[in-house]
Symmetry: C2
DNA sequence: AGAATAATGATAATCATTCTCAAAGATAAG
DNA sequence: CTTATCTTTGAGAATGATTATCATTATTCT
């Protein structure tokens, strides 16, 4: 599979900003993550990246995800059962509903909850560095 | 170390309720967990249980924790970094503040947040099966 | 282009956890 | 209290996810 040169140059400039070398595997992975609207795990990301860069190894996927994580480009979600799942970092924080039957993930956010968290932590003498709210749910049978 | 017979018989009756055979390792583990007011991991639990039942193996700790988990006697917390940490199940749900510097865990609860969660899930067509809210925090430097 | 430096692929190592199975222990019936 | 039955245990192997190692290859700088 070929990557549109428009998309490709967007990936390259993102990588330049992150101050890392431009490689085919990084372009492929970044492209795949930014294209995804689900929350794929490492194996799924490798599978998708291979369509663009067939040689990409699992080690490189892990390494690259870690560096993306550290530079704040992606977020890592460690839900119960199975490995970590990744998504593009977004401006506003959000939380997750995980469908316990299908593994599907949907996002939501609540400023009220968010503010209550900071209030509670503050009252107890803490600054919140980061936080996670996961709702393991089942679809309501109508 | 010897277990007071008072404590011991309390453990035994808890185990009888759970409908499992009474063994020294189960008595030891249950005693250690119900005594703990921190959130120990598996290795720490084995270490503490060994003081009461020196022969207890890691496999048995894992197995027993799983059975306690399934019968609802304990809760398992999978915080970031490191293995799962356990605590006695309590009547009311609570959430956790994890000190990112020390690993120390403190509990809190907020009915308002709790209710908002259910409301949000419901609005999106889901029933909440279980949920977790973890605040990774740092102590405010005064 | 060539030297310097960083990234890659393959695989070994690590860590947490679960599985396997023979031996030991607990429970139930006589 | 002894035997027969069925469960649990301990030791170590197996698994799954992730990270480390290292020689080879690719990227960047001059």
């Amino acid at each position: 599979m070929e990557l549109g040169s428009n998309r490709k140059s967007r990936m390259i400039s993102l990588l330049r900003n992150a101050n890392v070398r431009i490689t085919d595997q990084r372009i492929a992975l970044l492209s795949v993550i930014s294209e995804a609207n689900d929350h794929p795990d490492v194996l799924e990301l490798q599978k998708r990246a291979k369509k663009i860069c067939p040689s990409i190894s699992l080690a490189t996927v892990y390494r690259t995800l870690l560096s993306f994580l550290e530079s704040g480009v992606v977020h890592r979600n460690s839900f119960e059962g199975g490995g970590a799942r990744y998504e593009m970092a977004k401006e506003e924080h959000h939380d997750h509903i995980i469908d316990v039957d299908t593994g599907e993930v949907v996002e939501f956010n609540s400023d009220i909850i968010e503010n209550l968290q900071f209030e509670i932590a503050s009252k107890m003498g803490y600054d919140v560095i980061h936080h996670r709210l996961d709702l393991y749910c089942r679809k309501v049978s109508k």
